[in-house]
Amino acid sequence: MIKKSIYTLLLLLLMSCSSKEEDVYTPKPASLKIPELFQQKLIAPVIPTNNPLTEEGIALGKKLFFDKILSKDNTQSCATCHNPKKAFTDENRFSDGVNGTFGTRNSMPIFNLAWNFDERFAWDGKELSLERQALEPVRNPIEMHSKWTNVTERLQNHSEYPTLFQQAFGVSKIDSTLVTKALAQFERTLISGNSKFDQFLLGKAQLTPEEQNGFDVFMDETRGDCFHCHGSNNNPLWTDNKFHNNGLDAVFSDLGLGKVTGDPNDNGKFRSPSLRNLKFTAPYMHDGRFATLDEVINHYSTGLKSSPTIDPLMKKVNQGGVNLSDKDKADLKAFLLSLSDNDFVANPNFQE
């Protein structure tokens, strides 16, 4: 009798353990699909140890990215201003928020952000990690204009989200930290590395003579001299992710990095954007002032304006710029467009 009771007890104990195991869902670790060229040329991307990539975290981040539930009145998602078909920016100079108010900065494209080694995001570097960046637009009154308490309450009462958070992070209590972690995980997967020029560097495509000359202009210190700030064949990010005053204004209406650091020497400095995907990301500059690439090239050629913080690399500012010939301008544009990645904007994994 006693023996039987012991067996029964042990059996119950085992069943209880087994039941507990089924309740615990362990997210599956995920890794980034790093382009061949990035593997050859660059150091590893930045993945914070407190937010490792998981399949469930990425999927949740993607769902949140496209969900209008993050905005005050359920009218806008992240994708409203960061459209995958536009390399995750939009076609507007400034984007309007849920109240119809326009911002003062051009929506930044989103790709290859895990290779921003200094982890200073946004045009002015005010966001010190991808996770922290994601906090801002949700509560910004001229963007989604929500309160995080309202957003998390709505997510908590949603039919799917509590389970998805449980699966991604092992907790069903949703808070802003987990929401931004999921968004950041998805954003880190947005990798663009398959342009025609990437294929050329891998020996799988040929440049036209115009594209080749345009690349030479880009790399020539006596002509374009673009490579010091915008990457090269050896830095296929096509940005240094640093902050520069590129001679847009003699007097600043937007202080850029200077407003963030409080240092007047940083006034008028903005982060160099990547030159990938320019085909999809017009208008250009931090305030979207240039509608076309021709305008951008003309700016560097003859339109520079001097100011105390202008970058020393804007060496010919006293002559207006680098004064490129018409042919070099046209070829430079052809080269720049060869950095655009059609596969990236069509990638089904990145669409709603």
């Binding site: 040329k41 290779w115 020539d220 210190e221 090269s232 913080t309 006293n318």
Partner: protein, 253 residues
């Protein structure tokens, strides 16, 4: 009584053994790179703020200073070299990029300390390059022979028309556009003899003023930018670098 004697002898032996260990003590060394203008320390807070005057009397400010040091070498009295693995891209704007901490240990003793400014050609053109330097946008265009920068010193100066003008004093291997070859303008700096007794931090000083001084008095009105493709300018900069730019500073141990 006999037991005490054995104990005493054992202690004596242990003590001797301990002395022998100290004779072959292994220590670590760390290199701390500092910058100055003729003795006045240049720190991050001086960038864009502090005005300096070069040998020709031109006033200038510095906005960026990055330089590459490789092959830091300790040579002992017997001529045996310890070449520390790796290299250091010094960046005055980042405190963590002012120190090089090799993992290799050395025996205490007297050494001659030397290092290479930049990369010699063998290192500069290593197959596959260097991912960390690519990521730091430190590479040199293939049209100038490729490889990597040795130094980027940038800022602004007051030109002869009393206008503010940018300068980019970038040093690389001198590219000869006729022969299409890169002349190795990196150089070895002999920092003199040091005596290492314990784990040590060795200061290596760069006097930035010397880049404009000796043997070539640098005229920024003439040579201020687009120096990378300028073969002659690269030779001149290399010559100035060899003459008193680097020196040994404090050693704490």
């Amino acid at each position: 009584m006999k037991q005490y004697l054995i104990l005493f002898l054992s202690l004596l032996l242990f003590s001797c053994s301990s002395d022998n260990d100290e004779l072959t003590k292994e220590v670590t060394v760390k290199f701390n790179f500092t910058q100055n203008w003729d003795g006045t320390v240049i720190e991050k807070s001086d960038l864009s703020n502090t005005e300096y005057t070069n040998k020709l009397g031109t006033k200038l400010t510095i906005e960026k200073l990055r330089y590459l040091i490789s092959k830091i070498t300790l040579t002992n009295g017997a001529g045996v070299e310890t070449i520390f693995e790796g290299y250091k891209l010094v960046d005055i704007t980042e405190s963590e990029n002012l120190t090089f901490s090799p993992t290799e240990k050395i025996s205490e003793g007297a050494y001659n300390l030397s290092m290479t400014f930049g990369f010699n050609n063998a290192d500069n053109f290593k197959a596959g390059g260097y991912a960390d330097l690519n990521s730091a946008s430190w590479d040199v265009p293939d049209t100038l022979g490729g490889g990597y920068h040795y130094m980027q010193l940038e800022g602004k100066f007051l030109n002869k028309n009393i206008q503010q003008q940018g300068f980019a004093y970038h040093t690389i291997g001198a590219y000869n556009s006729t022969t299409k070859e890169v002349e190795d303008t990196s150089f070895t700096v002999d920092l003199g003899t040091i005596s290492i007794k314990n784990n040590a931090t060795i200061e290596v000083k760069m006097n930035v003023a010397e880049w404009f001084k000796n043997p070539n008095e640098w005229d920024l009105d003439v040579l201020n930018s687009m120096l990378m493709p300028n073969y002659d300018a690269q030779k001149l900069m290399s010559a100035n670098g060899k003459s008193g730019v680097f020196s040994l500073g404090n050693i704490s141990q």
